[in-house]
């Protein structure tokens, strides 16, 4: 990790100044239609969760006790770190430093790929202990929302592979594509931050 940092730290500063122009929509503006739509949909789910939680406080609190807070917290850090390297990689790509961008996106991909793996370590013991979506409303919400989020993560990992390919093979990497993919990945991150607070942390 240190090599990456040393090799390209100066580029980061330069690219930040270059991209400092105000009023720039990162990535394909059609993609923002998707992002805002997705934020709204998840928003409805979050509020729905809170409403039904208000009806069954005891059940939700008791069920929450069975979640694995450690894996949840580690996964949050994984996604945050992955997001950091995505944004650093985007800056490097923008500055034309392809080697640094590639390295950073590889690291981002590794941290991102750890998320579904850890999720399995969380889900499989729970399911085999009989904690399934049909158990109660809390677990239905838990599996539907984290499952939905996991689909987004999987899609994001695929997009990240395409970004890597774009950076690696094409003569002039399409910066707008890199930004579009990065925007999507950060949205996945934002959704998880809210999910983490709602499912694992609040009382």
């Amino acid at each position: 990790m240190t090599d990456v940092a040393e090799g390209s730290a100066t580029d980061v500063d330069r690219s930040q100044r270059a991209a400092g122009a105000r009023g720039h929509v990162p990535g394909d503006s059609s993609m923002w239609f998707f992002v805002i739509g997705d934020l709204l949909i998840f928003g409805v789910y979050f509020v729905g969760y809170m409403y039904f939680r208000g009806q069954h406080h005891e059940l939700f609190l008791k069920s929450q006790a069975r979640l694995n807070l450690d894996i949840g917290a580690i996964n949050t850090v994984m996604l945050l770190t992955s997001s950091l390297f995505v944004v650093l990689g985007t800056e490097a790509a923008r500055a034309g430093n392809r080697a640094a961008a590639l390295q950073r996106f590889w690291i981002a991909l590794a941290f991102g790929a750890a998320f579904p793996l850890l999720k399995m370590f969380e889900w499989i013991p729970e399911i085999s202990a009989g904690v399934t979506p049909g158990k109660n409303l809390f677990f239905m919400y838990y599996y539907v929302m984290t499952g939905m989020h996991l689909c987004h993560v999987a899609l994001g990992l695929v997009i990240m592979c395409f970004i890597l390919r774009n950076l690696k093979t094409s003569k002039a990497p399409k910066i707008s594509f890199v930004e579009t993919g990065a925007t999507y990945w950060h949205m996945v991150d934002v959704l998880w931050l809210v999910l983490f607070a709602l499912l694992y942390l609040m009382r």
């Binding site: 805002i36 009806q55 942390l201």
Partner: protein
């Protein structure tokens, strides 16, 4: 290396990670009994709102985007968390 540490993005990341750990500790400490605890919930949700806003403005680079986008995303964060807290307290 030092340049990367001084990079504002890395500082944002460090902040995000720290508050993640802090909010986990709040939940572990104050919420260990798994009973309704408005202090824990309020703290945790407000931290999550700040985190979401930080990721949106710094990682998604919305802080350099046009005003409509800033307004929409920040509006989402504010309205969402207002509704969440509102429904939480209404359901007590």
């Amino acid at each position: 290396m030092t340049a990367l540490i001084r990079n504002p993005l890395t500082i944002v990341w460090a902040l995000l990670t720290t508050v993640t750990i802090v909010s986990s500790l709040i939940a572990l400490d104050g919420g260990a009994a798994h009973q309704i605890n408005t202090t824990v919930t309020t703290a945790v949700l407000l931290i999550a709102a700040v985190k979401a806003q930080l990721v949106i403005s710094h990682f998604m680079e919305v802080r350099r985007a046009p005003v409509w986008l800033k307004a929409t995303t920040s509006g989402w964060v504010i309205v969402l968390f207002a509704l969440l807290l509102g429904f939480y307290f209404a359901g007590l």
